[in-house]
Structures are given as C-alpha cells and as structure tokens.
C-alpha cells in the first residue's frame, strides 16, 4: 500500500478536466488499496478537512486564491501546514497536477526537502513564443528540475513537457486521461429536433476553444444545409459574438444557444445530437470528443495538439483549423452520422479508456520511483544551478532557506509528536454502502 498525496489548485467544487482527473484517479487508487488524500486551497464555503465520495479525504487549506483559482507562489508560507499534513498522513508519494498550479509546485519543492518521492502530471500544452508561456515554462523548469517522474496525458504533451522543463524523456510516462463511460451512454431516441441533422457543440466560449472558427462555420453550414440544426452549450467571453452572428444572419431557426450546461446534463445534450463538433485551437488531450464518441456521436474535430492520438480514424473526422476544411468535414459527416453504429462505438470506447487503467499505470510509476534513491543535497544544488548563473544562484538561496525552515520546524514540533491519522480504507472496504452513493454528481456549470 502506498500513501499518496494528490495536490492541485484546481479541485471540486470547480469542475474541469484536471479536477475530474484528480477525483477519479483518487477513487480508483483507493479501490486498489492505497491511501489517498487531496490537498487544495479553500473554496467559498469549503475550508478544513472534508471526506468526499468513497472516503476520499480532502484538505481545503486556508490559502486565498490570488488570480482565478490559483494561489500566489510564496515558497515558505505553505511549509508549516504542508509538513504537518504530510507527516500526519504518513505520505510516501506527492503527486502534483497542472503546470499553472503553484500550490502543487510549492509542495513538490518542500516534499523533496522532506525526502518524499514526487510525481507531476501535465495537462496542458504551452508554446514557447509568448510572454505568459515563457514565464510559466521558466518556473516549471525550476519546480521540475528535481522531480522523480512526470506524467503527460498525450505523446505531444510529453514532447512539449520535455522541451519546456528540460526533462529527460525517459522520466516522462504517457498515461492518457479517461472517461467514465457509464455516465456517457448513447440514447438515439432522445435526438431532438426530429428530421434534422443535429450538431452539438459544448465548450467554454473562449478563443482557445475556437469560438471564432465556430462563428464562420455556423454561417457557412446553416446557409448551405438548411437541414442542419446546431445545439451549442457553454458560456464565456466569446458567447456574445455567437449571439450577434445568429441575430445578424437570422439563424435562430437553425441554432439553439443553451448557455451554461451543468455537468450532469452534458450527457442529455450530447444525446440530442448526431454529430459532435470540436473547434479547439489547442488541446493536450480532448476529453470532450471521447465523451461525445461514448454517447455514440460522429465526431468532427480540428486536428491540433494531441487530438489525433485520442480516437481511431474511423470514429472522428479530423479537419485543419480553418472554417473551410471544418465545413467540408461536416458535410462528409452528415451522411455518415445518419447510419452510425452508436452502441457499437460506445462499447469500443469503453474498452479504450477507463480510470481503472489510468490508476493501474500510475501505480506502476509510484512503485518504480519508490525503488529509487533520494537525491543528495549536492545534486539538488547542482540542479538548482542548472537553471542559470544568476537565477540558479537565487534558487539555491531559496533551497537553503527551505532547509533552514524545515530544521526550525523539526525543532519546534518534532515529527514524533505529530498525531497520525487513521486509515479509512479498511472501514470503507468492509461497509461500502455506508459511505456515499459512489456517484460523482457535478454541480459546477461548464
């Protein structure tokens, strides 16, 4: 049994790909007999320790998010509480998620100073030529220079991570995301409106999700194919552009804007469609197309990032990220979608992706790193210095500070005096019915 600490700024009650990944991975690891805790910052109305479905213990630490849902990088500010939690829970492996989660980054650094094994999972792609990516990559390189192992959700993401953080590719495993197929089942009877070809789009209305492309596609397809009906769900800053386009070109009879779609209603929206359209401009691993394919929809998607690795070619039509090619692929998909083997596709997806597989493969990574030796202080200093002559020196000073603070904390509160927490797994396994409904009901809206 391995005691695992999953940490990220993004967790329930927020809901997205990363949050779902951590939650599902945690549950499956508990099922496999490990002890799992999750650390995140406080959310509105949530602070302290909570138990979630199936006994997943979550520490909502009292840190206030600075921007959106990410806390400020304070380095030593979080050390006392993290040390308490890690020692109290007798953690073996610290597993951080997402490059933009600085809470996770801080804990990775402290965990190395305390002698724990560390793993990092990257969920996003970052370029090299814009200011924000430049800074994220620089900090990521520092955080990951001492990491024991990294995980990417796609092969493209692995290449990207290896270059961004200057990591040895042998220390990066590719473990894809997954989908809970039991929540995304096909139901062709729910297709509505009738006698039309329904194209479903569900995404956040942002530039990166390709809403500008969707605006062009909407105009062209609705004009050329009066039998097509668009069902568009999601909210965001670019929603106004879609609304304006629909009004300007009188597309009200061929489009339906749903606005925010609660997580538990996504399946119902998908079931209404024949075709799922994804116009994203960048994706490390697009969960949305797997969910749509699981619901038996014919998928049309832009071929960007790691999307081409996700589904076999007979399930998806890949288009270049321009309106003309996307329209062409939609036209190709219309006759196919009418005669789609929806149930057969659902069964295939079920075999392809499952959270149990993800947990099993992640578990292998944990066992592998637990067999390795810890780095010496000298090696850690060298790793810090590898970030640059001036920047590296600054990082070395931070490392020294971290070690000094740890010694002070060890002196003030020796780890023997910290009370150890109980193991939930045994009680849970004996009386499963008593703990929760084993169903994750998403409340957050997309």
């Amino acid at each position: 049994m391995v005691n695992i600490c999953l940490i990220c700024d993004f967790f329930y009650p927020c809901l997205g790909g990363v949050e779902m990944h951590i939650f599902q991975l945690g549950l499956c690891l508990i099922e496999r007999g490990h002890k799992v805790i999750v650390i995140t910052h406080r959310y509105q109305g949530r602070s302290g320790v909570r138990y979630m479905t199936n006994g997943l213990k979550v520490y909502y630490c009292p840190f206030i998010p600075a921007i959106q849902t990410v806390v400020l990088f304070t380095y030593v500010g979080t050390l006392p509480i993290f040390r308490q939690i890690l020692l109290r829970e007798e953690i073996h492996v610290v597993h951080s998620h997402a490059a933009t989660s600085y809470l996770g980054g801080e804990l990775l650094l402290h965990a190395k100073s305390m002698g724990f094994k560390t793993v990092f999972t990257d969920h996003s792609l970052f370029a090299f030529n814009d200011a924000s990516s430049f800074h994220v990559n620089k900090i990521l390189k520092y955080i990951l220079c001492e990491i024991d192992h990294s995980i990417s959700v796609s092969h493209v993401s692995k290449e990207n991570l290896s270059m961004r953080a200057s990591l040895d590719p042998r220390n990066i495993s590719v473990i894809p995301n997954a989908v809970d197929c039991s929540r995304f089942t096909p139901n062709p009877q729910k297709r509505y409106p009738l006698n039309t070809i329904n194209i479903v789009v569900i995404c956040r209305m942002t530039f990166r999700k390709g809403v500008d492309l969707l605006v062009d596609v909407l105009q062209i397809i609705c004009k050329q194919h009066p039998e097509v009906y668009f069902i568009i769900g999601g909210d965001g800053p670019k929603k106004r552009i879609l609304e304006e386009t629909i009004q300007r070109y009188n597309l009200q009879n061929q489009t339906e804007l749903l606005g925010s779609v609660p997580g538990h209603q996504v399946k119902d929206v998908l079931n209404r469609g024949h075709i799922f359209l994804n116009t994203s401009l960048t994706e490390a691993f697009c969960i949305a197309i797997v969910e749509a394919a699981s619901c038996g929809l014919c998928v049309v998607s832009t071929n960007v990032g790691g999307i081409s690795e996700v589904l076999p070619k007979n399930m998806v039509l890949y288009a270049d990220p321009n309106p003309e090619d996307i329209c062409q692929k939609i036209v190709q998909a219309i006759p196919i979608a009418k005669n789609f083997q929806v149930y057969q596709q659902h069964e295939l997806i079920k075999k392809m992706y499952s959270w149990e597989q993800v947990a099993e493969r992640t578990e292998k990574v944990y066992y592998k790193i637990l067999q390795t030796q810890n780095q010496t202080i000298l090696k850690r200093f060298k790793d810090c210095y590898s970030n640059g002559q001036i920047y590296g020196l600054y990082l070395m000073i931070l490392l020294i500070l971290d070690l000094i603070f740890l010694r002070i904390l060890d002196f003030l509160q020796p780890h023997q005096t910290i009370q150890k927490s109980g193991i939930f797994n045994k009680i849970y396994k004996n009386q499963k019915e008593k703990f929760g409904d084993h169903q994750f009901k998403a409340q957050q809206q997309i």
Partner: protein, 318 residues
Amino acid sequence: MDYFKYCPWDGYRFSENDVQCFICRRPKYQLTSYIQEEQEQKKWEKILYEKQPYDDNYIDETFLQSVQKQDNTNNGPDYKQLISKTSDLIFAVNCVVFYLLSYFLMLHDMVNDQLQLYFWLVAAITCLIMFSVVKKMKTLEILSNFKSIGIYISILLLFAPVMQTVNQTYADNTIYVLTSVAILIYIFLKDYDYEKDFTELDVSQWASLVFSSLLASRLHNELQVFLMIFASNLLFIFVPILQRSIKQKYNSVFRVINLISTIGLGLSLLFFSYFLALLFFGCVFFITFVSPLQIIWLYQYKNTIRGPWDLPNVKQYD
C-alpha cells in the same frame, strides 16, 4: 549505429557531424540506449486509444519529429525594408523636436504669440483638410468636424488658466525631469503599427498630454498655455491618425513629407545650437541606418521552435 535526430531537451536538430547539442552541450545519444529492444513486437504508434506492448515512458525514434526549428541565418529581415520601417520612428521624433522647439520659442518670447496662434490654427485647418481629402469625406462630415474643433478650442480656452496654475508650484527641475520621462514613454510606447483604428487614447498619448501640461505651467500667459496644449493634441493625437491615413494610400508622399520635415528641423536647429543640430542628425542617422543593422545581427540568435502546441492563425472577432 542510429543516433537521436533531435536533442530531446531543446529540439536542436543534429547534423551528421554533431557529437553534442549546439545549445545545451549534452551529448548526442544513441537511439539504442533509449529505445527498447523490439523483439517480435508490434511497431509503436503515436496513439492513446490502444495499450501497446511498450512501457509508458517509451521513446520512439519519431520523438520530437513534429518540432520545426526555424533557421534564422538565411531568413533574416531585409535591410531596405527595415530602413523604410524606421520612418515612423523618425516622424515621431520629429514631432517631439518640433514641439520642444516651439516651446523654447514661446518660453523666451522669441516669436510673437499672435503669430504662433495663426500658425497653429492654419496647421490644424490644413491637417483637417488633408484628412478630409484622404478619407474622401462629404461636405457635411467636414463641416461637422470643423464644428467639433470649434467646441474643443472653446473648452481648451476655458481650461487654459487652470492648466497654467495646476503645476506651477513644482520646481523647474521636477518639471523637466518628469517631462523627459513622459517624452521617453511617448516615444517607446507609441503604437507604430497603426493597425487599429483610433478608438481611445493609449498610454503614449496620455504621456503626451502629461508632458504638455507640465511644460505649459512654465509659460507666461494663458494664450501660450492654450497653444502648447493645442499643439500637443494636434501633433501627438491627430497627426498620427492623419499619418496612418496618408501611409495607407500614399506611402511615398508620407516619405517625402518625413524627409523634408527632418531636413527642415535639423537646419532650423542650427540657428539655436550646432551641438543640438549635430545630435539630431546623429540620432536620425543612427535610427535609420545603424539600428536596422543591429536587428539583422541580433536575428541570428533568435531561436524559433514551432510544434503542434502552437496556436494556429485564426481570424478573431472582437
């Protein structure tokens, strides 16, 4: 013996003779040291939907093949093009020098205030007529613009006494230091692309308002204050709009105007100080001919890596 084609750490493409990475100095590893033995194994595919008989950290020979590194040694910018692009910067410098020159004349009462007033009014009307011609405006629109200018002048005249006294208590040194900073902000943060239509004042234009109001506080009467702020708005807010319109349609006309104004300004500076004239011509020479050479030299160090993670160019709606 097969070796890595790209450096896994920075994407540098190895040539046949390379023994180490040019960028990170790491050795060029043999593929066999990384790649597992493929004994009776199915060929690895770059897919996620199928579990393959390889470890999750397996590295294939196709690793980083999708990365494209732009070779900048032969694709640098053209010297002539760069020289032509400096004309915008020269024009901005000319405007600032011309403005400071007129301030100097006013401060030392070297030119009659009435004459200055006529000059700036004529300049404003000329600019407006040129703008109307370039934009092919209708008579009603032109009259409407004249009306707006009339209202604007009235408001500015009302505010002139306030602008004269608002910064009067500050020491001369403070005013000139703040003015220098604001001028530098104007020069460095000015939008030289002129891609967007004028909708609101940007940082550089706000900076121009700041230094004009600072300088105005040192003048002797309200008319001079009015003229200074009016000239500032004309030179730093309206003229760039006119410049954009002229450049879009008559680029060669703009270049001729720029050349004449540069030579004229340089010669007029000769009347005041040989040193200043020399400094001005030196500055123009440096911006026009030397700085493009520096950019070309620096371009060889520009490291452009493109891969599947880059966002495609998509038309954006605002």
